[in-house]
Symmetry: C2
Subunit: 228 residues, 2 copies
C-alpha cells in the first residue's frame, strides 16, 4: 500500500479514478476543493463516494469567486446548455487555471504525506475542450512538479497519474462498473438542485448521458422533475 492523493470532484471520472487507484494498491487520500462552485452538491457526492470506498477525504476551501470569469463561479454568468457549450471553442464553464490550482494543492498534500502519486481524472476524449485536461499540459505540470518540492531536491518524485486520459466516457463507465463503483453516488451536473438532481441540459450532463448510452448500461442519474 502506497499513499496517494486523489483529486475527487464527486463526478464520474474522479470516482472511477479513485476506484482504479485503489485497485492499483493505493491507500487513497481524496481531496476535494470547495471553490464556490454552483454545483456544491458534488462535494456531498465526494464525501459519500469516499465513505463507500473507504478512502480518507479532505475538503479544502478556496473561494475562486474572488476571481470570477466562469459560469461555475460567477452568478453573473449563466451555465449554457450543452449545444451552445460544446459548439466551438472552450465553453464559459471553463474555470481559469482550475486544474493547475487543484494539482498544486494535491502536490502540497502529497509532499506532506510522502505520497509518491497524485491521481487526477482528467480526460481528453469526451470532454469540454478545457486546456488543462490535455496530455501536453499534464506533462508540463509534471516537469514543473519535479522541480517544485523539497522531496524533489532529495531525489524523490511525485508522479501525476491520469489513467482516464485517453478513454471514452463509455469506456470509463465500463471501467467503473467493473471496479464495483456506485454511479448513483456521483454528481456531474453543473447546476444541480438542492437535492443533487441534475439539470439534464448542461455540457456535463450531456457528456455523462451519452456515456451511459454508449456503454449500454442503465443510467442512475437523478434528474430534476419535469426533465427527461
Amino acid at each position: 500500500m502506497h499513499p496517494s492523493v486523489v483529486l475527487l470532484s464527486g463526478g464520474v471520472d474522479s470516482a472511477v479514478t479513485l476506484a482504479y487507484a485503489q485497485q492499483q494498491g493505493a491507500e487513497c487520500y481524496a481531496l476535494s476543493i470547495d471553490y464556490g462552485q454552483r454545483h456544491r452538491a458534488e462535494l456531498a457526492a465526494a464525501a459519500r463516494i469516499s465513505r463507500e470506498r473507504g478512502a480518507q477525504h479532505r475538503v479544502v476551501r478556496l473561494d475562486l469567486r474572488a476571481f470570477g470569469g466562469s459560469a461555475l463561479t460567477s452568478d453573473a454568468i449563466d451555465v449554457p446548455n450543452a449545444s451552445a457549450a460544446l459548439h466551438g471553442g472552450v465553453p464559459i464553464t471553463y474555470v481559469p487555471a482550475r486544474n493547475t490550482i487543484f494539482l498544486s494543492l494535491a502536490l502540497a498534500w502529497a509532499e506532506v504525506l510522502k505520497a509518491p502519486y497524485i491521481y487526477i481524472g482528467a480526460n481528453a476524449v469526451d470532454y469540454s475542450g478545457y486546456p488543462d485536461c490535455r496530455p501536453e499540459y499534464l506533462a508540463a505540470f509534471q516537469s514543473m512538479a519535479d522541480l517544485a518540492t523539497k522531496v524533489a531536491l532529495d531525489g524523490a518524485r511525485i508522479v501525476i497519474e491520469a489513467p482516464l486520459l485517453h478513454l471514452s466516457k463509455a469506456r470509463i463507465i465500463e471501467l467503473g462498473l467493473g471496479l464495483g463503483l456506485d454511479f448513483a453516488a456521483t454528481v456531474s451536473c453543473y447546476q444541480p438542485d438542492a437535492l443533487g438532481r441534475a439539470c439534464g441540459t448542461c455540457d456535463a450532463c450531456a457528456i455523462r448521458r451519452r456515456g451511459f448510452e454508449e456503454a449500454g448500461v442503465a443510467d442512475p442519474t437523478r434528474y430534476q422533475p419535469g426533465l427527461v
Copy 2:
C-alpha cells in the same frame, strides 16, 4: 498601462517587486493569500503597502493548515532560529508547494483580468534554499502556464516576471529605496507579535537584517521589546 498581477506577501521582496512593476508601467493587482500562516501580520502589511502604492489588492483565503508539514502552518512545529534554519538543507519553514499554489492562483486571476504579466518576488541569492525559488523551477512553471489556460489556446501568453531573482538582499533594498518604497510598512518575520513587531531570531529576520546592514541603510524594522 498593462494590468499585472503581483504576488504580495507584505515582506521586502514582494513590496519591491510591486514598486518595480509599477515603474515598468504596470497597473498592479496585488494578490495576497491568507493561508493560515503564523505571521498573519504580513497580510496587514500587504494591505498597507497596496494602499500606499495605489494598487488594487485582494486577499484570498486558503487554509494550508489542512495539510500542515511546515513551521509556518502547523502549531505543532516551532519556527527555528536562524542559525538552525540556515544551516544545511531546506528549513522547516518551507511550506510545501507554496509558490506553485500562489502562482496558480495568480494565473487564474491574470487570465480573468486579461493581464499579460504576473510578478513574483522570488529570489535565489539571499534566501532560505526553498526549491520553488530557483530559476529552473520558475522556467518550468512558465512552460506549464503556457499550456494551462484558455488564453494560451488563443495564442496569448501570461508571462511570469521575477525581477529580483538574481539580486542580493542588499541590492533589493537599494532598488526599493530608489523607487520610494517605505520599508517600515513591510513585515518579514515568521513569528511577529500581535503588533507586527519582529522576533529578530528567525531566518527571515536574519536575512532581512543582514540585507540592511550590507546596503548600509537604516533598518526601520520594529522588534519586540527586549530584542536587539
